[in-house]
Structure formats: structure tokens, C-alpha cells
């Protein structure tokens, strides 16, 4: 019996569970398919089973930023954070989240287009977002000065726990108060 035969004997669900357990980033379906040789439909089935089995447990299998990943559930954060070697950084500033929201809904767009909505210079905040790799440049606008256009990254989706761009909160009625 060769190694390939042995691999085929192992349940696909367990293989998927094992690779998701150790992966340092969310794994897209495509990558799982390449790793296991299984079809996307087969993978979706076993992932659905896994998600069912992990319901009510301390971890969950989530689809975030275009891929699957295990996360501890939010209610266990008080314990989870005690065992992490590095203190997690503070969250993004209001200006940063606001700018990201504009980029996310209007991408790709230029700095000037961001500033038209915000009504204030956004050079520094865009630079910060670029440094954090939450946005990247996406070509240049066909306009005088050929300014850069920006779009959000997968890291942006992961940071906000979004499955994909169409998972963004809806942009309809303005919020009041608060």
C-alpha cells in the first residue's frame, strides 16, 4: 500500500479539520481543494458538518476574508487573551474606520474622492491604512496628476470578521443619535 492509498483511507472531514487547525491564515475553498483533491461540493459538505459539530463548543469554524478558519468564541476572550504571548494592539481610530468604510463601499477610489466625503485631508490616515495593509493601491485614475486609486484588502475583511465585500453592513438609512 503506498502513501496515496493511505491518504485516501482517511476521512476528508478530518483532513480538512487538521489543516484548518494549523493554518496561519483563512484557507479559501480553492486551496483546500488543491490540498485534498476533493471537489468544492465535497468540501462544502464536510465543512458544514464540522461547523455543526463545533456548535456549542469553545471554538467555531468561520468563513472570514474569503477563507475558513477556526476562532475561539468571543465569550472566551477573557481566557484566550491570557495565553497569547503578545498583547493585542488597540483597535483602529474612528478616522481610520470611517476612511475604510468609504474605501470599502466606493472602491477603487482616489484620495480626493475620500476627502470629498470626509470633508478633511485624509493623507495621513490613508498612509496608516496602507502601512497596516488594510488597503492597497489599485492602479491610477485617468485624471490630471494620475492619482492612485485605493481598494481594501483581504486583511481588511479578516480584521472586521467579514466573509466578503458583499458582507459589509448595508449603507442605506443614516444613523441618528448616539
Amino acid at each position: 500500500m503506498n502513501a496515496d492509498d493511505e491518504r485516501q483511507d482517511l476521512p476528508l472531514k478530518n483532513v480538512v479539520e487538521a489543516v484548518l487547525f494549523v493554518a496561519p491564515d483563512p484557507l479559501p475553498l480553492k486551496k483546500l481543494a488543491a490540498l485534498t483533491g476533493a471537489s468544492p461540493d465535497e468540501l462544502r459538505t464536510v465543512i458544514g458538518e464540522l461547523q455543526g459539530e463545533y456548535a456549542g463548543r469553545g471554538v467555531e469554524l468561520a468563513y472570514v476574508g474569503g477563507g475558513y478558519r477556526f476562532y475561539s468564541r468571543p465569550e472566551y476572550a477573557p481566557w484566550a487573551k491570557q495565553v497569547l504571548p503578545i498583547e493585542r494592539g488597540p483597535r483602529l481610530s474612528r478616522a481610520a474606520v470611517e476612511t475604510l468604510a468609504i474605501v470599502a463601499y466606493r472602491q477603487p477610489l482616489t484620495r480626493v474622492a475620500v476627502e470629498e466625503v470626509r470633508g478633511v485631508n485624509s493623507d495621513a490616515v490613508l498612509k496608516t491604512l496602507l502601512d497596516k495593509k488594510l488597503i492597497i493601491t489599485d492602479g491610477r485614475e485617468d485624471a490630471p496628476g494620475r492619482p492612485f486609486r485605493y481598494r481594501t484588502t483581504k486583511k481588511f475583511l479578516q480584521h472586521f470578521g467579514l466573509a466578503a465585500l458583499n458582507d459589509l453592513p448595508s449603507l442605506e438609512e443614516p444613523e441618528t443619535g448616539g
Binding site: 484548518l20 494549523v22 493554518a23 496561519p24 491564515d25 471554538v59 467555531e60 468561520a62 478558519r69 477556526f70 476562532y71 475561539s72 468564541r73 468571543p74 476572550a77 484566550a80 487573551k81 497569547l84 503578545i86 498583547e87 493585542r88 494592539g89 488597540p90 483597535r91 483602529l92 481610530s93 474612528r94 478616522a95 481610520a96 474606520v97 470611517e98 475604510l100 468604510a101 468609504i102 470599502a104 463601499y105 466625503v117 470626509r118 470633508g119 478633511v120 485631508n121 490616515v125 496608516t128 497596516k132 495593509k133 479578516q158 480584521h159 472586521f160 470578521g161 467579514l162 459589509l168 453592513p169 449603507l171 442605506e172 438609512e173 443614516p174 444613523e175 441618528t176 443619535g177 448616539g178
Partner: protein
């Protein structure tokens, strides 16, 4: 005021301030009482200048725009057909405010998603970034509360001559100590005591600590007390 000049940046823009003024007084965004809002806007702008905050040039452009709209409102518009909504001098500004408010709302929802996601710890290590301070609340909420504190403060002339003025370093140490001693949160207005100059420098020190991410501000509901929370670094 040169001895404690720190030029703290204000990240919010003029639209933030206008929305803040409109929401605070529960004004109708479609029918903004422009004279009243202009007056309040300029009062905030003056306070920010008095504190020597690094206010973006756009704040002054907006002040000019507001005054322009205010004078346009005084012109008789009897001949204008009523159906022409664009003839209202406020129309452009209102459209801009509404558009901005939509994104602010979306940003609020994104921030909530961020908060939830940040309490989920991924398998296979944490690739998240660090750094970049979150202020928690708008600086205008702080400025609003600070106006109250200043109004109750003794007049400037009670500074004892010959006494060394407060430095930003002294007041940074003071705010840090207060947060540490409290072992938790400190009420915003409880931070301020003594002469006016001390109060002003203490406020600037607080802004500096917020900027550096050493503490956060939280006001859970409008008109509730404002609290300062140390971040983990301080405890």
C-alpha cells in the same frame, strides 16, 4: 501659552463638528438653523484655537461657507419657484452632511464588527497588527465637556506670580497617576482642579494620552458622565 505648546492633531473634520452640533441639539438636518449653528461652530473653533490644537484648514473653509450661507439666507427669495429645492443656500451642505452621515453610520457598524472580531482568537496564531490608538469617542464630546469645566474654573489672574507654570510632562504624570490610583476608570471632570492654566494643560495632557493610546474615553449614552479608562499598558 507657548511653554506648553504641543500642537495635538485633531483627526475629526468640520463635518464631524457640524453633525455633532446638529445631533446634540436634536436639530432637523433638512432645516438647519444656520445662524445658530454658525455661532456654535465658531465658538468651538475658537476654543480649539485657544487650546492651540492643530486644527485642519478645512475647519476655516467651513466657517467661511457657513457665514456665506447665513448671509444668503437673509436675501429675499420671493421670486424663486418653490419647486427648485436647489435654491436653498443650505442644499449643498445638507447633501454633503447626509452623505457623510451615511458613511459614519456604516463606520459605526464596522467598528462593532471589529470589536466582536477582536474578541475571537484565531487558530494557528494571531496575524493581527498592533499600534494605532483608538480614541473611543469624538473629540467634540470631550471639548463639550471641557467647556463646562472651563466655565466653572477660576479666572486666569489667580495664578500665583513667580510660581513655575504647569508643564505638559507634570500633567501627563498627574493624569497617569490618577488613572493608576483609581485602579479603573476616572470621571472626566474629576480630573480637573486648580487654576485655569492647570486645567487647560491637564486637558492637553489627557488628549496626548488618548492619542498615544494610553487611555480611552467612554460615554455610553449622550448626557451620561464621561469616563476615562486606562488601557492595559497603564495597569
Amino acid at each position: 501659552m507657548t511653554d506648553y505648546r504641543v500642537r495635538l492633531p485633531v483627526y475629526e473634520g468640520p463635518l464631524d463638528l457640524l453633525l455633532f452640533l446638529i445631533q446634540e441639539d436634536e436639530l432637523d438636518i433638512y432645516d438647519i438653523p444656520i445662524a445658530r449653528v454658525t455661532e456654535q461652530y465658531i465658538a468651538y473653533l475658537e476654543l480649539m484655537q485657544e487650546l492651540d490644537l492643530a486644527v485642519a484648514g478645512e475647519f476655516f473653509v467651513m466657517a467661511a461657507t457657513l457665514m456665506e450661507i447665513k448671509s444668503a439666507m437673509l436675501l429675499p427669495r420671493g421670486d424663486v419657484p418653490k419647486a427648485e429645492g436647489l435654491e436653498d443656500p443650505r442644499a449643498l451642505l445638507v447633501a454633503q452632511l447626509l452623505e457623510y452621515q451615511r458613511f459614519k453610520g456604516a463606520a459605526g457598524e464596522l467598528a462593532a464588527r471589529e470589536a466582536e472580531q477582536s474578541s475571537k482568537y484565531p487558530a494557528g496564531g494571531d496575524g493581527r497588527f498592533s499600534g494605532g490608538a483608538a480614541s473611543g469617542e469624538s473629540i467634540f464630546i470631550l471639548l463639550d465637556a471641557f467647556r463646562g469645566v472651563l466655565a466653572r474654573a477660576p479666572e486666569a489672574r489667580d495664578v500665583v506670580p513667580g510660581l513655575r507654570g504647569p508643564t505638559i510632562e507634570d500633567r501627563l504624570a498627574y493624569v497617569r497617576r490618577r488613572l493608576k490610583d483609581a485602579g479603573g476608570r476616572v470621571r472626566f471632570d474629576a480630573l480637573f482642579e486648580g487654576p485655569r492654566i492647570v486645567i487647560i494643560v491637564t486637558f492637553l495632557a489627557l488628549l496626548e494620552l488618548l492619542r498615544a493610546g494610553e487611555c480611552r474615553v467612554r460615554q455610553d449614552r449622550t448626557f451620561d458622565e464621561i469616563w476615562i479608562y486606562p488601557t492595559l499598558a497603564l495597569v
